[in-house]
């Protein structure tokens, strides 16, 4: 198992850099993962990451794209409730990139 070190703390990750243990997650590791991919986490990013974590806690899975865009639209205004906005924040796809920073497992299957 690979690991990433942040401030002297070690986090286990899988081959693709996703956290092996969701409980190990904290804001430091999210920042470190984003920095490694040249992504600077802003408040807008954190809105999404926090929503993903809340949703996961309740449903044990990342939200579907439509569920996410709808929730974002309700919270941040209709102009942001679309995948274009999410892809601007997370160019590699909200489903995968944002899940990674949020410490969630990668969605698998035909997605």
């Amino acid at each position: 198992m690979a690991a990433i070190e942040v401030n002297g703390k070690s986090y286990e990750v899988d081959e693709e850099g996703y956290l092996s243990d969701l409980n190990q997650w904290d804001k430091d590791v999210a920042e470190a993962m984003a920095n490694a991919e040249d992504c600077k986490l802003t408040d807008e990013h954190w809105d999404i990451i926090n929503f993903l974590r809340e949703y996961y806690e309740e449903y044990q899975i990342a939200p579907a794209v439509r569920v996410l865009t709808k929730a974002v639209g309700k919270k941040l205004g209709k102009d942001k409730g679309n995948s274009k906005y999410l892809y601007e924040l997370f160019p590699y796809g909200p489903g995968k990139q944002a899940c990674k920073y949020a410490g969630l497992p990668k969605p698998t299957g035909c997605v």
Binding site: E16, A64, R66, K96, C110
Partner: protein, 511 residues
């Protein structure tokens, strides 16, 4: 985006000059013990002790069990007809991605241990010893085949590389080299019900959201029922339809068709997956286990019919093997096809004139259609030969005013794979996926240039996800791929739809 070059597209296809070893580095993650053991496979990310004997035993076993494999190993005469037919060869230039070379990875070993000439004069007949290098080569190149079977269409003997790939992958998994992507996914189907790992609660919440969305959009309450006992139709659809775009737009289209047709239907949380990755890894037992979930769900819910949503390989498994794997289906209504494809259902509704269609709703698009390999080369959608080609096109033309096909050598049974099928739709194979998409991207670009096409419609979850990802590499946008039932959904005018809008128009006029 990544450290490889996206291939150039041309006005006419170019057969590349071979570049030996161009893709030798491409290899998906090997499954660790965690994923291997859940599948009943040994090993922890590498070959097991005594792998060589086990490999040869398994090959022996498969040759005895599958007559086709024996015939494919013996038959090839190296005529070369297949060499320029594989999208991965055309996109990567690697000669080991010529179908004949891919088959030869296993054939050379077969010859060494199973033929007289290979045992005594190996060099004369290209027979080689089974070594670790040979096995690693197999792991790499049998995961550069999407099992699309285009090569088999052009082989004068009908040698099916997909079957060779499946046999090889199954043997590799059983000597410790299982693929992480597939082996991580299949246990989720058994434990949770689908490839995504979408639990019942999340599925119910997602469907509720769709009901709200359709109502907001049309003013009509269209239901997306889950686990409803006594419904007539069980819809089995890929779990990507719940999760991803444009898949979910297709799911909303199915819901509208069922609503407008006035039939009762349901999804099942137990069989919330049409996909059957058992096919990809060449495991008959996994194919059977995954299929049996559909049987259990159909029995528990007491449905009369089973309809499959837009999923390529699922339809191949369902159309060809559902009865063998999970039959007999004597408890279903025998007057309908078992199983039936959603497009056949929709086409029937269109033919009978029971859907109220406004084609102009799709006038902002000019469409083309991507034949999915597993549907095009392994099934029908309807009773007639060739219906797998005509049914989707007739449905699209019935709901859209603007449709053009791509060039004839890239459609119907000569269709090119999207580049992500057969268990390769994983980020660790992105270079392969982008390069393998070349022939399809080329024909798409040409029909865009020639006919002003703006969108490509597909009927497979893998194709849709793959195109979403690779279109930007070729200078197009991810939203240029759409679901066929998304087009149907756009065009259907439901009873009661627009009543509110009319009223407000009237009110505006009055004011």
């Amino acid at each position: 985006m990544a450290d490889f070059e996206t291939p150039q597209t041309h006005e006419f296809p170019v057969i590349p000059t071979v570049m030996e070893g161009a893709m030798a580095h491409s290899s998906p993650f090997v499954a660790s013990a965690e994923f291997q053991s859940e599948m009943g496979f040994p090993g922890d990310g590498g070959l097991i002790e005594g792998w060589k004997d086990r490999f040869l035993d398994l090959l022996d076993d498969k040759l005895g069990k599958y007559r086709s494999l024996q015939v494919f190993m013996d038959t090839c005469v190296k005529c070369g007809a297949c060499t320029d037919k594989c999208h991965y060869f055309l996109g990567t230039s690697d000669p080991k991605n010529m179908p004949v070379a891919r088959q030869d990875l296993l054939r050379k070993v077969y010859r060494r241990y199973h033929t007289f000439a290979g045992k005594y004069f190996p060099k004369l007949v290209g027979a080689i010893d089974l070594t670790e290098d040979v096995v690693n080569d197999m792991y790499s190149y049998y995961h550069q085949c999407s099992e699309c079977r285009r090569c088999a269409v052009f082989c004068p003997f009908g040698i099916d590389t997909a079957e060779v790939t499946m046999a090889a992958r199954d043997i590799l998994a059983q000597v410790g080299l299982g693929q992480k992507y597939s082996n991580q996914i299949i246990p989720k189907v058994h434990k949770i019900g689908n490839n995504l790992g979408l639990p019942e609660k999340a599925l119910a919440d997602t469907l509720e959201g769709l009901e709200e969305d359709v109502e907001d959009d049309t003013g009509v309450k269209v239901r997306f029922p889950l686990d409803e006992k006594g419904a007539d139709i069980l819809l089995v659809t890929p779990s990507a339809d719940f999760f991803a775009e444009p898949h979910v737009d297709g799911l909303m289209g199915y819901g509208k068709v069922f609503h407008a047709a006035g039939v009762s239907w349901t999804l099942s949380s137990k069989a919330s997956e049409a996909a059957n990755f058992g096919l990809f890894i060449g495991s008959y037992e996994q194919m059977r286990q995954v299929s049996l979930r559909i049987r259990d769900a159909a029995k528990e819910l007491g449905v009369k019919r089973i309809v499959f949503g837009e999923c390529g390989h699922a339809w191949r498994v369902a159309y060809n093997h559902l009865n063998t794997l999970a039959g007999p289906w004597d408890f279903l209504d025998q007057s309908y096809p078992i199983p039936q494809h959603i497009l056949e259902f929709t086409k029937d509704c269109l033919d009978r004139g029971i859907l109220n269609i406004d084609k102009s709703q799709n006038d902002d698009m000019t469409l083309t259609f991507h034949d999915s390999c597993n549907i095009a080369r392994a099934s029908r959608i309807g009773a007639e030969p060739g219906s797998q080609f005509t049914t989707p096109r007739e449905v699209i033309k019935a709901v859209c005013n603007n449709f053009y096909d791509m060039s004839a050598d890239t459609i119907h049974d000569a269709t090119f794979c999207c580049g992500g099928g057969g268990g390769l739709l994983t980020d660790d194979l992105m270079e392969l996926r982008v390069k393998g998409a070349l022939p399809r991207m080329e024909s798409l670009k040409n029909v865009i240039a020639d006919k002003g096409v703006t969108h490509m419609a597909a009927i497979c979850a893998i194709c849709k996800s793959q195109f979403t990802k690779v279109l930007p590499y070729y200078g197009m946008t991810m939203d240029q791929i759409v679901s066929v039932h998304q087009l149907v959904g756009n065009a259907i005018i439901l009873d009661g739809q627009g009543d509110d809008a009319d009223e407000s128009d009237d009110a505006d006029e009055a004011a």
